[in-house]
């Protein structure tokens, strides 16, 4: 893992220098302004969600009958007010917390479970592999939106059930990526050599296999975050995720949808938040993929 990838440093015409793998990745990222821009944007979105209580100009739950559906700029409401007279900007800031949480936690959990299962399936091979991968095939046989809707719909909705549903949706693809990578590494000479020298299985997995499997799995997981945020908001949009009056981007979009004839501009706001988040996640994932030199 510590070899310098040829061609990485020659971009500036100098000889390849000793940088190490992660050094090379960092070097490439530093000269990728597009990825850096979207990374900064994503960081900004995450930070403004975390510090929402400090940043929000109004109470996100404060309703007002006389201030319903006011346009952006109305008496300090920078992005206008919603159908119950609540400040849209404050609700977007607060809503980011639950939307991002509901989008990112499932990917994280699925990476651990799916990646782990894939590692085991790929390394063990044989019957274990067959059992794990055939079960995954079954869940693979559902389109992701359908599976998420089916599970959370049957469980009766709610944030927790939505996150469980999304986790189940992401386990099979992550498992497949990990299994493929592990199977490729398992039969390489250096793994055989390590085992032949009597290294315990735990160490072989940790040092020789995991290091080569982690890259593809993490890159794939990062590409799923944008899907996950869109799906999580989609579940709330269908009434299956966050329940009112809690602020959430998908839920806000659904509620404001009734008001497109009165206040079209305000209706578009929650979707713009989702779009900016998912685009930053996709661009960051693409940038990492090429920086880490992982083939899709």
């Amino acid at each position: 893992m510590s070899t310098t990838i040829p061609g990485a440093a020659t971009a500036e015409g100098s000889l390849p220098t000793q940088r190490g793998y992660w050094g090379t990745v960092g070097y490439r990222l530093r000269y990728d302004p597009v990825t850096l821009f979207f990374a900064a944007l994503l960081l900004l979105i995450i930070l403004s969600a975390i510090f929402a209580p400090l940043l929000a100009p109004f109470d996100p739950y404060q309703e007002s009958i006389i201030r319903r559906l006011k346009p952006p700029g109305f008496r300090g409401h920078m992005l206008g007010t919603d159908e119950l007279g609540r400040d849209v900007l404050s609700r977007l800031l607060h809503g980011g917390r639950i939307t991002l949480l509901m989008g990112m936690v499932p990917v994280l959990v699925a990476t651990l479970i799916g990646g782990g299962l894939g590692l085991v399936a790929g390394f063990a091979g044989g019957v274990v592999n067959a059992v794990i991968m055939r079960v995954m095939d079954v869940f693979y046989a559902f389109p992701s939106v359908l599976l998420a809707v089916a599970i959370s719909g049957a469980m009766g909705g709610g944030v927790g059930n939505g996150m469980i549903a999304l986790t189940l949706v992401f386990i099979p693809p992550l498992c497949r990526v990990a299994e493929t990578a592990t199977t490729q590494v398992r039969n390489l000479d250096f793994v055989d050599a390590a085992r032949a020298t009597g290294a315990p299985l735990r160490l072989v997995l940790w040092h020789h296999v995991l290091g080569n499997v982690l890259g593809p799995v993490l890159i794939y997981a990062s590409s799923l975050t944008s899907v996950s945020v869109i799906l999580a908001s989609g579940l709330s949009f269908l009434g299956l995720g966050v329940k009112p009056p809690e602020p959430d981007w998908g839920l806000m979009l659904n509620a404001l949808r009734q008001a497109i004839y009165v206040s079209p501009l305000v209706c578009a706001m929650p979707g713009i938040a989702i779009l900016l988040t998912s685009i930053s996640m996709n661009m960051l994932s693409d940038g990492l993929r090429s920086a880490m030199d992982v083939r899709s």
Binding site: R134, V138, A141, L146, R257, C267, G271, M283
Partner: protein
Amino acid sequence: MFGYVVRRLLAAIPIALGVSMVCFALVYLAPGDPVQTLLPPDADAETVERLKRLYGLDRPLPIQYLEWLWRVMQGDFGKSIATGRPVLDEILRSLGNTVLLATLSVLIAFSVAFILGTIAGRRTGTWLDRIVTGIAVLGVSIPNYWLGIVLVIIFSVELMVLPASGMAGDTFDPTSWEHIQHVVLPVFTLSMIPVGIIARTTRSAVAEVMNQEFVVTLRANGLPEWRVLRHALKNALPPVLAVMGLQFGTLMGGSILVETVFSWPGSGFMLSKAILNRDVPVLQGTILVLAMIFVTVNLTVDLFQSSLDPRIRRG
């Protein structure tokens, strides 16, 4: 080839059984007694008991599953709680409308994305390539339920040129201007993700083919560039067609959000209504049918692809 087809078909059987088990289990995921979910909430205890015996819910789970599977294979999906009609009738009535949306969206997405992807793949690294790649990223990043709302705001609310929702009739009539108008926005909205994905696939397929030796040979022989491109595209087409097929399957099962936005009377909209009404038989039946369609489409794509290119046959 024949042996391969048989093997793939046999391999699909356990997957289909697994899918049916997941759908069967959906009822048990619901909070509370499964009988309660099959009945309106105000049903009395006697009715609950009667239904329990009727559906065999007092028997062990594996037996229940087999009995349910047997009924489903005969086309008996139970009755909708909301309308009282057989679930299968409801599904068949709405499925055609979803097939219509998915087919049109994928065809349009393919025509647009194949051109975009070819432009980008021929000259990777140019500004044209960057624009196409940007469009592709945008396509998969836009929440399509939001795009639908924005399009309604622009074309229905502000410009008033296209209808905001519905379908204008029970079945689609391609000769009716009104029917066509109703299709435009949902199809455009639904085609965004496939445009992104197909453009990306085309781009990398074309870029790979353009680097192959036979292209160099064709050029060296003095063939005009458009004829070189024709040869190259023929070779780039199979993976793109495969992705297009898979996207059709995904749209069939994934149009629920867009159909809800446009109140399009397809299976996705029915599913979202079933969730709101807690109409579990409709939920279960629709998901089973859509997942089976997805499995069938994937299998067809695989067989089609391996008949074009035997190298990619799976074990």
